[in-house]
Amino acid sequence: MSLLTPDLGLVFWMLVAFGIVVFVLVKFGFPVIIKGVEDRNKFIDDSLLAAKQAQEELANVKATSEELLNQARLEQANILADAAKSRDKIVEAAKGKASEEAAKIIDLAREQIQLEKEDAIRQIRREVGLLSVDIAEKVLRNSLSEEKEQMNMIDRLLDEMNIPKS
């Protein structure tokens, strides 16, 4: 029966020992351990989250760079197209200008030619005049070899000159 009756001395020691154990472990033991474990769990969770975020960011960066690349490519194509267009334009413009210039030059040449032609014609005319005068002189000299004829001539000329006077 003594097994079933709690001994007061042992109860006293149990209260002391268990009290100390509970005090020490509840105050300094288990909370520290549990906090440590929870801290570590939190750290691991945070790290995982951070890694995930970093991965997402990396994917974002990749996507952005891809986009940038595409954009650059597009722009390049645009620039090339623009360049081709402007080149064509320039060439066109140059062509136009050149033909204009050529036309101008041709016109100028034509004018020159005209002028020269007129000049030449004038000279020819002058030559022809002189020649005809020469010829006329010769003819005249031929026909005026006789005195009489010379007189006739003078008369006629005088007549001709008088008519407008009269």
Binding site: S2, L3, L4, T5, P6, D7, L8, G9, L10, V11, F12, W13, M14, L15, A17, F18, I20, V21, V22, V24, L25, V26, F28, G29, F30, P31, V32, I33, I34, K35, G36, V37, D39, R40, F43
Partner: protein, 371 residues
């Protein structure tokens, strides 16, 4: 849902309460058989019964072995307060293993105070002084408490130093152990605010566990029947009782004194309140008896089996040899079972404490319906 959990806890409690008593009965029968067989053959029968009871009970000295009729034991300090002569502190060696009296104190052999220190008054009656001697159990208790504090503080210091590294070796094992108790017993048991009660419940678990384990070690630092002593389990149960009832919510006390049952169950005769109030006390009482009886039974079985060897000595060499083999095999087996029991009893005590706390922390039904 709530009634279900209540019924579940009740059934579990009942089972766990009955199991050790069956165990204990078996042990009783076991020891009885041992003693009767011994009685037929040898005169050492009383010695074996005495030996087992002596081990299960407390002692003023730590008996290690008896060689050639000489007791080898560690004397422990006796601290007694007599109403007539005041405080006395002396070594238990002064009693010469209970054969001699010292300063008017002696170890009683009477039926009432067997094995306890008593003093005799003028009329020849034995009077029990106030006795806070550092007995075998008390000494073992202090030892295991110191060991427990040492172990847990070692682990916690490792966390204080660096909580982010993963723990290896002993600290890692302890972390796993602590977390298994924390996550699998306390968290589901207590429910919402488990964090507040976790340190106490963890302390209870490891306190019971280390004492159970130390009790299984047969040589000096262990071997005391600490958790198989009702004084120890009583203090544990009272602590749980206080924590459960001091953390009880309004709803918890309302369910005890004015439960949600038809009025005729509580108005003329307060039947349900009476049952509930009894329940408040039977819960920790069951905790106390369960742990005590299980560990006591385990120690008794091991001792009874070992005793078989000595009981059968006189039955001839062949019987003795076969019984010795059997005894060793059984003892090894039972020791393994006891290792399991050491864990299970700590587990059960903690789990039920956690569940009781959880039941005391219930919220009113109305809030639940709104939520």
């Amino acid at each position: 849902m709530k009634i279900k959990t209540k019924i579940f806890t009740f059934v579990i409690s009942l089972m766990l309460l009955i199991a050790p008593s069956i165990n204990a009965q078996n042990v009783a029968v076991d020891t009885l058989q041992t003693t009767t067989t011994a009685a037929e053959t040898t005169e050492s029968e009383l010695d074996i019964k005495e030996m087992i009871l002596e081990h299960l009970a407390d002692a003023y000295e730590w008996h290690i072995a008896t060689m050639n009729g000489k007791h080898i034991s560690i004397p422990l300090p006796v601290i007694v307060y007599s109403k007539t002569t005041g405080w006395h502190v002396f070594s238990s060696a002064k009693f010469h293993h209970g054969h001699e009296a010292y300063n008017g104190f002696k170890i009683s052999t009477s039926e009432k105070y067997k094995g306890k220190i008593v003093e005799t008054d003028e009329a020849g009656n034995e009077i029990r002084p106030i006795d806070i001697s550092l007995t075998k159990n008390a000494f073992s208790l202090l030892l295991s408490s110191a060991l427990l504090i040492l172990i847990i503080m070692m682990v916690s210091r490792s966390y204080k130093r660096n909580s982010l590294e993963s723990k290896k070796g002993f600290v890692g094992v302890m972390e796993m152990f602590i977390l298994s108790v924390y996550n699998d017993i306390i968290k589901p048991g207590v429910g919402k605010d488990y964090k507040r009660y976790a340190p106490y419940l963890l302390t209870v678990f490891f306190f019971i566990f280390i004492n159970n384990i130390l009790g299984l070690i047969p040589i000096f630092p262990g071997g005391a029947n600490v958790t198989g002593n009702i004084a120890i389990t009583m203090v544990l149960a009272v602590c749980t009782f206080l924590i459960v009832n001091l953390s009880g919510t309004k709803e918890y006390f309302k369910e005890i004194f004015w439960p949600d049952v038809p009025w005729w169950l509580k108005v003329p005769v307060p039947l349900m309140p009476a049952i509930e109030i009894i329940g408040v006390f039977t819960k920790p009482f069951a905790l106390m008896i369960r742990l005590f009886a299980n560990i006591l039974a385990g120690h008794s079985i091991v001792l009874g089996l070992v005793s078989l060897i000595f009981v059968t000595v006189s039955l001839g060499a062949a019987t003795n040899a076969s019984m010795t083999t059997l005894s060793v095999i059984f003892t090894v087996f039972i020791d393994f079972v006891e290792l399991l029991v050491a864990y299970i009893q700590a587990y059960v005590f903690t789990m039920l404490s956690a569940v009781f706390i959880g039941l005391a922390r219930i919220e009113p039904h109305k809030q639940k319906e709104i939520a």
